[in-house]
């Protein structure tokens, strides 16, 4: 960790790179944004953006449960609740006859409302407001290590399951005909999304975590010619918005997470206009 830090310090001759907290935040961004690009592409392809949003909201209840149980690291209760939440949503989706957005909307509101009720019961909601807007400047080295492990795990999963997963996305009937266990793959993906959202939400923030998942992937769709290509575009756009947003936030004195999302949004609109012009020709 210190080795990496000294490399960053040596190769970045900028004012902001003099500060350890900026270098740590940069490392975290370098890990989180490709992860989000990767997962976001599948979230968008599977029309699951509302699902990941609901997961983000459920983090509040996860924190509240952690507070009630007196756990020091809310991450544990957040991940536990998010997994339960993800499985509940897909369970209700499979067995009920309400449409997906209704079911997810119901769960999303429950996750948010329950969290608000429990956390403001003692009038101290302000303590948790950092979870709403994210706090990437205070990321610690062990947390960066955790992000690194998660990124590696997701990349390995992707390499192993990419083809099956793509098949499930495009044509579930054909997938089950080819002996792919469609439900298992879907559950696995829900779990990966839940884990990613929960591990990174402290730094990205409940309010905008979904934008960071969806925007780069949506912009990539405007540019990419193939499904595989859209992953790389999404990771690239995500990485670029992350780094430039962080640095810009330093010079402008703005909140890092919000600046990153605004840059991703600007890129989305640029690619949107570009794709319109290309289609018009």
């Amino acid at each position: 960790m210190e080795f990496l830090d000294s490399i960053l310090r040596a190769i970045l001759p900028f004012e902001w790179a003099n500060y350890e907290f900026m270098r740590s935040a940069l490392l975290a961004v370098l890990l989180v944004t490709p992860l989000f690009g990767l997962i976001g592409t599948s979230v968008v392809n599977n029309k699951m953006s509302f699902f990941s949003d609901a997961l983000g909201h459920s983090a509040l209840t996860g924190i509240a449960i952690g507070v009630l149980l007196g756990i020091d690291h809310y991450m544990i209760s957040m991940i536990g609740f998010a997994l339960l939440f993800a499985l509940l949503i897909s369970g209700v989706l499979q067995h009920g006859n309400s449409s997906a957005d209704t079911v997810i909307g119901v769960f999303s509101s429950i996750g948010l409302a329950l969290g608000i009720v429990i956390l403001s019961a003692r009038g101290g909601f302000a303590k948790y407001s950092s979870y709403l807007i994210g706090d990437i400047l205070t990321v610690q080295s062990e947390e960066i290590l955790m992000l690194f492990v998660l990124l590696c795990a997701v990349v390995i999963l992707w390499i192993l399951f990419y083809n099956k997963f793509l098949l499930v996305t495009i044509n579930p009937d054909m997938a089950s005909g080819k002996n792919v266990r469609v439900n298992l793959i879907r559950h696995l993906f829900s779990i990966v999304v839940a884990l990613t959202v929960m591990v990174s939400i402290k730094w990205v923030g409940i309010l905008i975590i979904n934008s960071l998942l969806v925007l780069p992937a949506a912009a990539a769709r405007n540019l990419a010619k193939s499904a595989r290509g859209s992953h790389f575009w999404a990771m690239g756009i995500s990485l670029f918005s992350g780094i430039s947003g962080l640095i810009l936030s330093y010079y402008l004195g703005t909140v890092a997470s919000g600046t990153i999302v605004l840059i991703a949004a600007a890129i989305f609109f640029l690619t949107f206009i570009w794709s319109l012009r290309k289609a018009g020709r």
Binding site: Y19, S120, R122, G123, A126, S130, D135, L137, A256
Partner: protein, 285 residues
């Protein structure tokens, strides 16, 4: 249709008719908006029969900057004879309370106090707390003249304790050579003024906000330049930003309590301030 209407009307009468007859009120009920005022009121009403003190925001609420008035609070206030508030902008919800309960007597504990930059954290200095105790005692005496003498005796006793505390703190802190401090929030200007500490930087300039990268960097420069040894966080808020600055500058993070949460005991303010004195000595000595 008519029958349903009648039934509804009857139901309404049953539901709300009963509410009008409030139980016979006994004694004198004092509601303090939050913890430090509650502790002062507790001292002033000690041993007086029939006087009840309620802490509206509860023991764990902390500062009231962002406090959301809840239904139970309005219910508490409805039963109150006297509502003690900190004033100086601490209670954002006061106007709403006045609209709903125009008959409630509200005592502003900071009225007439010489504010530093509109800052409401007056009680954090023992002298400021004494001022508030006097204001609260005056309101109690005016509102409940029956127990006037008892209030006066309690006031005298508590003011003596606070005076002794202030002298003790001066005795211990006046000899410090390093007086530059950095605090997490804008909660300590009165304490600093009383004991001539110099607050060279505040990490979170707005209450309940998080500092931007620019602000953290500026604080780091300041800490390095002035060789600040101690950063003071509060037990009520996360110290993560202070930890980041400490890592980068070699300054240490200590906990200074603005006494907005704590135990339900009359001596809570005194013991919290003694602990703060210990912390200041350890950090700056």
């Amino acid at each position: 249709m008519k029958r349903i209407l009648t039934a509804c009307l009857a139901l309404l009468l049953i539901l709300f008719g009963g509410c009008k007859k409030a139980p016979e009120k006994t004694g004198y009920t004092v509601v303090a908006s939050f913890y430090p005022l509650y502790i002062s009121a507790l001292n002033l009403t000690q041993g007086i029969e029939g006087v009840r003190v309620i802490n509206m925001a509860g023991q764990q609420a902390g500062c009231l900057h962002d406090y959301q008035l809840q239904n139970k609070d309005m219910k508490t206030l409805e039963e109150a004879d006297l509502f003690i508030v900190n004033g100086a902008g601490m209670e954002n919800f006061l106007r709403k309370v006045a609209e709903h309960l125009p008959g409630l007597t509200v005592a502003d504990a900071s009225e007439g106090y010489d504010l530093i930059d509109e800052n409401p954290h007056i009680w954090v200095s023992p002298k400021g707390n004494e001022y508030q105790v006097r204001s609260i005692a005056a309101a109690l005496k005016a509102g409940d003249p029956e127990h006037r003498e008892q209030y006066e005796a309690n006031e005298k006793a508590y003011l003596e304790k606070l005076e002794a505390l202030c002298e003790e703190m001066h005795g211990r802190l006046d000899g410090l050579s390093n007086r530059n401090i950095v605090t997490m929030h804008e909660a300590f200007p009165y304490l600093a003024a009383e004991f001539s500490l110099k607050i060279v930087g505040v990490i979170n300039r707005e209450p309940d906000s998080y500092p931007s990268a620019r602000e953290i960097a500026e604080t780091i420069e300041l800490v390095n330049e002035l060789q600040v040894k101690a950063l003071f966080a509060e037990p009520q808020y996360s110290a993560s930003a202070a930890d980041v600055i400490a890592q980068e500058t070699g300054a240490k993070v200590y906990t200074l309590d603005p006494v907005v949460t704590g135990e339900d005991s009359p001596d809570a303010y005194l013991s919290a301030m003694r602990k703060n004195t210990d912390t200041l000595l350890e950090a700056l000595g």
